[in-house]
């Protein structure tokens, strides 16, 4: 489904990814974890086409998509829930959801109402806020909207950057359950970055630990869960070593 090889990405002068490879099978849930600044968001952004890699390649469903723009990738079935939600602040909740289906609006206009209904069932909170400007929603509500909007694209591969961020515990449980359901019912493939490692490893099949732009550990969830370094890693914080070479001297 998705194959990433030797990906290098710069964010400004910072070498954020230093040769990352991932392999995702269809219908799999794959978790990426790692400390702040490990490059997780950069990895997802590079796959989704937001950042251009300096080196390395990405294949999606057998075709190479390295450097393809996000607006193209979503047409091929790849949807991203970005870091910081990025909802359309001035538009209503409903319009945000509708625009999630932008690329299939012309062909599948009839099904949109149904899909919105599904999302409102998953997030009842959004139903109460349906006409409100997205920018005035609470943080958690915006997070729900960002996830809902990505689902509206009916993707084959859903890429989530910290979907649990700002959600209440009950909501997290429900959302992650829904992911599992969707994988079952629609064969949705999910690539997930999470800080809520327990929740993530709870639903994932496989995963990897990213540190300082490199893959530290990779394997099945059971392997990861029992890996001594994972336990250790998430008890302490890592100092940043990938600091800008152009930064302060001295």
């Amino acid at each position: 489904m998705l194959r990433v090889e030797n990906l290098h990405t710069f964010r400004g002068r910072i070498h954020a990814l230093k040769g990352v490879g991932i392999h995702l099978n269809a219908g799999e849930i794959f978790a990426v974890v790692g400390p702040n600044g490990a490059g997780k968001s950069t990895l997802l952004g590079t796959i989704a086409g937001l950042y251009r890699p300096s080196q390395g390649r990405v294949w999606f469903e057998g075709a190479e998509v390295t450097g393809t723009a996000p607006e193209e990738l979503v047409r091929r079935g790849l949807a991203l829930v970005p870091e910081r939600r990025q909802v359309f602040q001035g538009l209503s909740v409903r319009d945000n959801l509708l625009l999630g289906a932008y690329h299939r609006y012309r062909q599948q206009r009839q099904t949109l109402e149904m899909d919105i209904e599904d999302i409102l069932t998953l997030f009842p909170r959004l139903r109460q806020r349906i006409g409100q400007a997205a920018g005035s929603l609470s943080g958690g509500e915006q997070q729900m909207l960002a996830v809902g909007r990505a689902l509206m694209a009916r993707p084959k591969l859903l890429i989530l950057d910290e979907p649990s961020l700002g959600l209440a515990p009950k909501m997290i449980a429900e959302l992650f359950e829904a992911f599992v359901d969707m994988r079952k019912s629609r064969g949705l493939t999910i690539l997930l970055v999470e800080q809520n490692i327990r929740a993530a490893l709870g639903i994932a099949d496989r995963g990897l630990v990213l540190e300082r732009g490199r893959v530290k550990i990779e394997g099945s969830v059971s392997e990861l869960k029992t890996h001594p370094q994972v336990e250790a890693a998430y008890l302490g914080r890592y100092a940043e070593a990938s600091a800008s070479p152009g930064g302060p001297t001295g």
Binding site: A69, E71, V87, F88, G90, L99, A133, G135
Partner: protein, 291 residues
């Protein structure tokens, strides 16, 4: 002042207001799609007017001249988008505004070189004596101007309610988010410049019979239209039409009733007072932002 005089002032305000409105709409179209305040907007009007007028003076039929004027502006809009706006995509909006001022200077210089400094004239669209209504006279060209801005008013209300219209608004609210849902902002930007340049060009050809066509006509029109667009609330194209009319009417009534010397000052004071009462434009809504 008599009723007829007041009506006359009203017509005058309507004429000038719809001219502002047409150009203001062009401002709003590019702004609400790309977030860029294109200060070269007024020049599209100048180019449209000059092209149409010079063709017409060389014997082309009126409608051909008007179409050609509009087309010339569209072409220029497209060239500007490709050559300048697209490369400037990643840079600070304030710098882009200054870049558009640079483009404005280039357009104006080029127009001066091509058409010279003297005003050109274009025949009125309907060559008939003015209408007489309630003791006041109404020029046919005014009827055209008002009608065309009316058409745009309705069309824009309609467009921004459609799904595409919302996508267009979304694109400027959040570029990244727009791309990840599949909106192609660069394509929108292209169309936006083509359309707003066309609007400006058309506006120029409509104005030309009233005011003549000069290479520097875009400057003042652009500034006034900018004011109209802002008063309407920049993001709201139909409101820009209303903003244009408001500015035009204010100018006419101030000049006619209070003082022509201080007309612009008084107009501005009234507009500013309105802004102070409604800081996000007369018809603008505060963007749904909070902390």
């Amino acid at each position: 002042m008599s009723g007829a005089s007041l009506l006359q002032l009203f017509f005058s305000g309507l004429t000038i207001g719809s001219i502002y409105a047409l150009i203001a709409v062009g401002f709003v179209v590019t702004f609400s799609v790309t977030g860029i305040l294109n200060l070269a907007q007024g020049e599209f009007a100048a180019v449209g007017a000059l092209t149409a007028a010079s063709l017409h003076m060389h014997g082309a039929a009126l409608w051909v001249s008007v179409l050609a004027g509009t087309a010339a502006a569209v072409l220029l809009g497209i060239v500007m988008e490709r050559a300048v706006i697209r490369p400037a995509r990643r840079i600070d909006l304030l710098s882009v505004v200054i870049i558009t001022i640079g483009v404005d200077i280039v357009f104006r210089g080029a127009a001066l070189m091509i058409w010279g400094a003297d005003p050109l004239t274009l025949a009125p669209f309907t060559d008939r004596p003015p209408l007489h209504l309630g003791g006041a006279t109404l020029d046919w060209q005014t009827v055209w101007t008002v009608a065309i801005s009316g058409v745009f008013f309705v069309a824009l209300i309609w467009f921004f309610r459609t799904y595409r219209g919302k996508a267009v608004r979304a694109a400027v609210m959040n570029h990244t988010a727009a791309r990840i849902v599949g909106i192609r902002p660069s394509r929108l930007s292209f169309y936006a410049f083509a359309v707003s340049a066309g609007l400006g060009g058309l506006a120029g050809t409509i104005v030309a019979p009233i005011t003549g066509a000069t290479y520097d006509m875009g400057l003042m029109l652009g500034l006034k239209a900018f004011v109209a667009a802002v008063i309407g609330g920049l993001n709201n194209a139909p409101a820009a039409v209303l903003g244009g009319l408001l500015v035009g009417l204010l100018e006419a009534f101030t000049a006619g009733l209070i003082s022509s010397d201080y007309r612009d000052a008084i107009t501005f004071i009234v507009l500013l007072l309105m802004l102070f009462v409604r800081p996000s434009g007369l018809f603008g809504r505060t963007a749904g932002k909070r902390v």
